[in-house]
Symmetry: C2
Subunit: 179 residues, 2 copies
C-alpha cells in the first residue's frame, strides 16, 4: 500500500475518504454556495483537487526525475477545474478524487524512489529550485489548505444563524489567506 | 434518522466520520504534535469535541426548553478534556465522538422540537440572550472551527518540508483566530 512508503506524508491517503464523509449527499445549499464574489464552493474545491491529481503532482514528480532543473514544471492552471467539472455531480467528483489519488499513490510505488531521490531538484516556474521532498510534502499540505478552506466555506453558510456566538467561532474570522 | 430533521445543520452527522477518516491510525508524529506552546494537538481537539458532546450542546438545548432565559447556561470548560481524555488513545476518542454525536442527535429527535421552539431563548453566561436556533447552528459551526484547526495543525507538522511552496499554502498563514 502506498501509505506505507515512509517518505510519503501519511495524510495523503486520508484526504479523499475524509472529504467524502464530510460532503457526500450534503444538500446543495452547503456544497454549491461560496463565500461571496470570486470565491469557490466546496464543489469547486473538489474539482480543483482533481485537476491537481491529473496535471500537477505526479507529472511534476516525473519532470524532476526526467529533467531535473533543466526543464521547469508546467504552470498549474488554477481555473482548469471550471471546465473539467462541467456537468459532473459532486458525488462524481468525490469518486474521481478517491480514484485518482489512489492511482497516483500506486504510481509513486512503481517509481521505486530511493532516499537519495528525495533530494533531487526540479524547477518551479515561479518559485525556482525545489526538491522532490518539497513536492511530496506540498501535495499533503495542499490537501490541508483546501480542507481548511472547505471547513470555512461550510461555516460561512451558517454565519448568520449562529447569532452572538459568531465572536467565538474562529473559522468565521478566517480571511482565507489567499486560498 | 436525526439528519433528516430539517432544522438541524446537515454537517453535524458528518463531522465524526470525516475526522475518523482523516485521523485514525495516522502516526503520532501527526496527531500528538501541536503548533507550539499553549496550542492543541489533533488528539486534544477530539477530546474537546467529546467534552462538548457531554457537557455543552444537548444540556444547553434542555436548559432553554426548561428554563428559558431565567437560568443561564453553565459555563463551558474549555480545558476539561485534558482530564477526561487521560489514558485514552486517539482511536478511543474517535469512537467516543461518533457514539456521543449519534446519541445526541437521537436525543434531539426525542425532544420533538416544533418550528416555534427554534425561536425560544436562553441566556449565555457571557453573550447574553441566544435562541435555540443559534445554539444548533453554533454546534455545527463549532465542528467546522475545529476541522479548520485540525487541518492547520496537520499542515503545521510539514511546514518546513514544503520549502519555497510555503508562500502559496494558505493554511500555513492562518493565525488561528483564537481557536
Amino acid at each position: 500500500m502506498a501509505q506505507t512508503l515512509n517518505y510519503l506524508p501519511a495524510p495523503l491517503a486520508r484526504t479523499p475518504p475524509a472529504l467524502n464523509a464530510l460532503l457526500r449527499d450534503l444538500p446543495d445549499t452547503w456544497t454549491l454556495r461560496n463565500e461571496g464574489p470570486d470565491t469557490w464552493t466546496a464543489y469547486d474545491v473538489i474539482g480543483h483537487l482533481n485537476h491537481g491529481e491529473r496535471a500537477d503532482w505526479i507529472p511534476r514528480v516525473k519532470r524532476i526525475l526526467e529533467s531535473g532543473e533543466t526543464r521547469p514544471f508546467d504552470p498549474f492552471d488554477r481555473f482548469a477545474h471550471f471546465r473539467e467539472s462541467e456537468s459532473k455531480t459532486l458525488s462524481q467528483l468525490l469518486d474521481e478524487f478517491a480514484l485518482l489519488r489512489s492511482q497516483n499513490l500506486a504510481e509513486l510505488v512503481t517509481l521505486n524512489l530511493k532516499p537519495a531521490d528525495l533530494a533531487r531538484r526540479g524547477r518551479h516556474p515561479a518559485l525556482g529550485p525545489v526538491t522532490l521532498s518539497n513536492l511530496l510534502s506540498t501535495w499533503a499540505a495542499h490537501d490541508m489548505t483546501h480542507l481548511h478552506q472547505i471547513s470555512r466555506i461550510l461555516a460561512y453558510q451558517g454565519r448568520e444563524s449562529v447569532g452572538p456566538w459568531s465572536k467565538y467561532l474562529g473559522v468565521l474570522h478566517c480571511s482565507g489567506h489567499s486560498e
